[in-house]
Amino acid sequence: MTYDIEESQDEVVSEIAPDTPLPKDLIEHLESRKQHRKDVINTTEKLTRFFVGWSLNSTGFFIAKYLLITGGSVNLWLAISLSFSICSVGSLAGLTGLRVNYNSDGLEVDNMQNLLKTAGGLVFAGITTWLAVKDHQYFENLTKETVTQISQDIQTIEKQNPQSDPWVSIAVALALFIGSIAIIFKGRE
């Protein structure tokens, strides 16, 4: 006969001693629900950030389009600057947390990834701005091309009789001059 029962009994006691008000599986379930809630919140926040970026870009795009359609090429640079500024808001806000310091050990940069994100955002803002103005630039180039063609046609017409026009005038003027002189001197005789 042994006394192994003592050890097993100790285990029974130790299972009861902790102040656990709920079963373990229920606790695990509650923990998983809690984690799920946190995941949902994180996902929602990520989605929100994503849509904020898109909204800002679309706003910049819309403003540029509105200015170009309603005002034409007069508003070109205003449209470009406004569009780029608005599209850059999200990128510049992402610079929060960036710290740059220069000391004896050299350059120190904290949160370098924010700088890269911002650079990417600025490139994206540039692309959006280009998309907003490219159609207008196309039709403006078309207009310039038409104007160039007309100018070339005018030059072509004028080159077909390049000397006649001035010499006719000179000849008429000369004839009038000689005629008037002749009349003057004929009267004296």
Partner: protein, 483 residues
């Protein structure tokens, strides 16, 4: 839940609106165009004009409408050729609603953002509230089950003990069956265990007894040492009590003799709180009488002589005052002046700050001299003035010795002569030859039974009233009052 669905539905609607807006904003020609033609006029007849038109006029040319509208105006890039450049037709944008489409797309996207923000905030708030609720309910459950857990834990422990006992019995039973033990052996084991238990108990008791004995021993030691420190053994205490009773008896005898002398004026003076001024010429016995009064008050009232102010203290203490033992002595002029000031401060301190003060005495000799010295004059003057009221309240009896009781002799305290004569008792002693004091004396300031201060009352001083006789009286040689 409904709110969540609503948020998602609204976000979906906004998203669809954004997509529709984006779709409706699509166009191949977003800007208005105008078709123009360049038709120069020929000056050489119809054939030439036909050739020009064929070459230049029939070509399609397109410009932005806004540019055509500037034709002929400042800023136009189209060269002005008058009617040679002509409007053919307008080509408006193929999607006049593109701006509305873009607007809808933008608003839709911001709508999605708004919905997501609201949802995110709501989810965070819900998560926080759920967490708080969980904590609250958990704590409530924990509290609710606390008692149950304790009971269960205790019962488990009891069960464990019982199980152990049961298993031990089972073990014993098994061992019996196997022949490893029997009843007698078990009884012997039980008896041994009981004996062990009893012995352990006895050991515990003996330890406790030992502690008690040590404590009692320490207490006895402490009491013995305290007795040694206090210097009072039982025998000494008994002797002291005996001596005390003898002294009391002698004191009573002396008091009776003082009360019986003439009309008891001596006892009245000793028992009086007024300052006593002993006056007289040199050799009239002033110091003897003053020392006697001081000693009697010491014996009768346990009133020690606190301070002696006397320029001749050294000589006096060797002769007339050898039985006096003052605690402080002021002998030089500066000491005497300081002693007068100290006395006044002390009286005020004892009056104001010492409710349970021990009565004491002050003796001042040769007062006449102090009113003449520059150092002691002012302190003496203030001392006399204060002595009329303060010593009584300060429980300090004052005896002063002077040659005369004039203003100048007693410190030059002007304006207080009347108060001084009523507020003090003056005993004026006499001498016939300047060496031997006479028995007769004159008393002023001692109140009679009617409360009036007697003036120039003639009295006699008993021969036994000397410091030596009084000392002997209390040290084994009682005074024979009959002599």
């Amino acid at each position: 839940m409904k709110q969540g669905v609503f948020e998602l539905a609204l976000a979906g609607v906004c998203g669809v609106a954004a997509i529709i807006g984006l779709a409706t904003s699509q166009t191949r020609q977003p800007y208005d165009l105008t078709q123009i033609q360049f038709c120069p006029r020929s000056a050489n007849g119809v054939h030439s004009q036909i050739a020009l038109d064929k070459r230049f006029c029939n070509q399609p040319r397109f410009v932005l409408t806004e540019e055509w509208q500037r034709y002929g105006l400042y800023g136009s890039i189209i060269p002005y050729k008058g009617d040679a450049i002509q409007w053919v037709r307008d080509l408006p944008t193929d999607n006049p609603n593109q701006l509305q489409g873009y607007g809808i797309a933008v608003i839709g996207l911001w709508g999605v953002v708004g919905c997501l923000l609201v949802r995110s905030q709501r989810l965070k708030r819900t998560d926080y509230e759920l967490g708080e609720l969980e904590k609250t309910s958990d704590y409530a459950t924990w509290q609710h089950n606390l008692h149950k857990r304790e009971v269960k834990q205790h019962s488990t422990q009891l069960y464990t003990e019982r199980l152990k006992d049961g298993l031990t019995d089972l073990d014993v039973h098994s061992r019996k069956e196997l022949g490893l033990t029997d009843e007698e052996n078990e009884r012997a084991k039980a008896r041994i265990q009981l004996e062990d238990f009893m012995k352990a108990r006895a050991v515990n008791h003996s330890v406790m007894d030992k502690t008690i004995a040590e404590n009692l021993r320490d207490r006895a030691k402490a009491e013995q040492e305290r007795g040694k420190i206090e210097g009072k053994t039982k025998g000494a205490i008994a002797d002291s009590d005996n001596q005390q009773s003898v002294d009391q008896q002698r004191a009573n005898q002396l008091i009776e003799a003082l009360k019986a002398h003439e009309d008891g004026w001596l006892w009245k003076i000793i028992d009086n709180q007024k300052p006593v001024w002993v006056l007289g010429e040199a050799g009239s016995g002033k110091s003897t009488l003053a020392a006697s009064i001081i000693m009697l008050r010491e014996y009768f009232f346990d009133m020690p002589l606190y301070q002696l102010i006397d320029a001749h203290a050294g000589e006096n203490l060797r002769n007339a005052w050898r039985y006096l033992s003052p605690q402080l002595i002021a002998q030089t002029e500066s000491e005497i002046g300081q002693a007068f000031d100290d006395a006044r401060s002390r009286w005020l301190d004892r009056i104001n700050n010492q409710p349970d003060k021990q009565p004491q005495q002050l003796l001042v000799d040769e007062f006449t001299n102090y009113s003449e010295s520059d150092i002691t004059k002012e302190p003496a003057k203030k001392f006399v003035k204060a002595s009329l009221s303060d010593p009584r309240k300060a429980e300090e009896r004052l005896v002063c010795i002077a040659h005369f009781f004039t203003n100048t002799a007693v410190g030059g305290s002007d304006g207080t002569a009347k108060g001084r004569s009523r507020g003090t008792i003056q005993i004026d002693r006499k001498t016939a030859d300047g060496k031997t004091p006479l028995q007769v004396a004159t008393i002023n300031g001692l109140n009679n039974s009617l409360g009036d201060a007697e003036v120039d009352k003639k009295v006699t001083i008993p021969a036994w009233l000397t410091p030596e006789s009084i000392h002997k009286h209390f040290n084994g040689q009682p005074i024979d009052f009959d002599d």
